[in-house]
């Protein structure tokens, strides 16, 4: 139909026809797939929500005298970083919390500040206190360092997320008699509420269910800047049961992203606190889908009512890793504000912000229309539903000392 190179030529001339995934669905409903595919060059999809496997790596530059942080201890605003790298390279994850954070000792813990919050403040250009203790070597003699660091002074600052953009997700409920605090939010007892976390029909991987256009190397909107799909995400699980249209009925594909943190914005990387659970980072991601065939459009025409998600009990089944669920609901029902479970009307809440996702899909559309954002050709496809690739549970094996 048209190649990515041809689409890029149109983008450069300011002639590309770009629609958001929501607009595309309207277009297909009025004009049909063939006509929409003829007209549209690019479809923008997006999502915004907490994504725990997010983090940054950065290089702080060498102090005088030099210090080797590798193998030492480093905190940023009292939040510990990973130091098992070269002298002044560090990694900070979204869920890191201070050693003296009370955690869940007084249940439920508040988790007001952690790695995700440091990342947001760093991106916002705030000075961050770095404190480091090292063991000292002949070539790196210094043993202690305390200084402000600022994103502008770092050599590199890179957002690297191992798992984002889940293709579909569980709807979390609580069948017990007590309130529980989960990464899916507060769950009231006796099916008091049902929480979901997906942009549904606007979500990137639900618009490209078999990963026909999104692959390794796909250029994306990442945290307000530009990023790329680095790999498939951890726990990528493409071979789950799918509907007739190829849409997974369970959490399935995931993506890993990388991008220049210095170009990102604190509006789209937001420190997040889940009471009783921990800290994380909410990430805004927008993924363009090039219309290279009619099939691309018919996949992206998927509606909320045709996307199913499993209802999972986070009081018993989820923590015990039981595979069972309480049935399925679709995203049109979830977004309506109430669903019915076992005959009971249950109000729904979303952890993923559809409002923000809509904003991102609009922003990415503008970038492309203005010729500021060209599409990239993926360099490798992501393992799809025909790959046999599956998430594996941990197989515990007894260690010699007998402890488990």
């Amino acid at each position: 139909m048209r190649t990515i190179a041809e689409i890029n030529e149109k983008i450069k001339k300011g002639q590309a026809v770009v629609v958001t995934a929501e607009e595309l669905k309207q277009l297909v409903e009025t004009k049909g797939v063939a006509s929409a595919a003829k007209t549209v060059d690019v479809i923008t999809t997006a999502t915004f929500g907490p994504m725990c496997s997010s983090g940054i790596y950065f290089n702080i530059g060498h102090s005088k005298p030099r210090i080797k942080l590798g193998g030492g201890k480093v905190t940023l605003n009292n939040i510990p970083c990973y130091t098992g790298l070269a002298a002044v390279d560090l990694f900070l994850g979204a869920t890191a919390i201070a050693d003296d954070d009370p955690r869940n000792i007084i249940y439920p813990g508040e988790f007001k500040y952690g790695g995700g919050h440091v990342i947001q403040e760093l991106v916002a250009g705030k000075d961050i206190v770095l404190e480091a203790a090292a063991y000292g070597t002949d070539c790196y003699p210094r043993k202690y360092l305390k200084t402000y660091v600022n994103i502008n002074d770092l050599n590199e600052a890179v957002l690297f997320n191992m798992r984002n953009c889940y293709q579909n997700y569980n709807v979390a409920v609580n069948t017990s008699n007590e309130i529980i605090h989960t990464y899916m939010g507060i769950l009231q007892p006796n099916l008091g509420n049902a929480n979901f976390c997906s942009a549904g029909e606007l979500s990137p991987l639900l618009n490209d269910p078999l990963y026909k256009t999104i692959g390794i190397g796909t250029k994306v909107f990442l945290g307000g800047g530009v990023g790329y799909v680095a790999w498939w995400g951890t726990q990528h699980n493409p071979c789950v049961e799918r509907t007739e249209k190829g849409v997974p009925k369970y959490p399935a594909g995931t993506l890993s992203f990388i991008g220049d943190l210095k170009k990102m914005s604190s509006q789209w990387l937001v420190g997040t606190s889940m009471v009783g659970y921990g800290t994380t980072l909410s990430v805004g991601i927008g993924v363009p889908i090039p219309v290279t065939s009619e099939e691309v459009v018919s996949c992206a025409a998927i509606r909320d009512k045709d996307i199913l998600a499993p209802i999972v009990d986070y009081a018993k089944d989820y923590p015990q890793r039981e595979a069972s669920n309480l049935g399925f609901v679709n995203y049109a029902q979830l977004k309506s504000g109430k669903i019915t479970i076992q005959g009971k009307e249950v109000p729904t809440g979303s952890l993923s912000s559809l409002k923000k996702a809509r904003e991102i899909s609009g922003l990415l559309k503008k970038w492309i229309e203005k010729g500021e954002f060209l599409l990239s050709e993926p360099v490798q496809r992501i393992l799809s539903s025909d790959s046999g690739y599956k998430i594996k549970p941990l197989q515990e094996r007894k260690v010699k000392d007998g402890k488990s």
């Binding site: 937001v270 559809l354 923000k356």
Partner: protein, 135 residues
Amino acid sequence: MVKVSIVVHFPKDLVGKPIVYKLVKEFNLSFNILKADVNPKDEGVLVLELEGDEKDYQRGIKYLKQEGLRVQLLSKDISMNEERCVDCTICIPLCPTQALVKNSETLEVEFIKEKCIVCGICISACPYGAMKIVF
């Protein structure tokens, strides 16, 4: 006629007293319990909305104080920091009075202060610290 929300603090030894019954029976006040945290052997808190004749209301309050209860006007307020709110809607099903609602057109979460009973669940539920209590 007046309509006032009050916070009543019970010392441990008064938790057993049927004060709400008395307010209704002897002072002709109608009540709405906004929040109750009353446990035997523990200090209790009751948040009440009282409605009735101004004089009856004043007499009722006097009665509560004579019984040894501490009475305060409910002057706390919840406020929403719209810059922090990301419009996720996770708070909506938790709010017991539908003071938090989604605008289905703009997809924004709206806070209707008049419906709020200051239970505070949105404060701990909000992952972005958008809900605050103000005194």
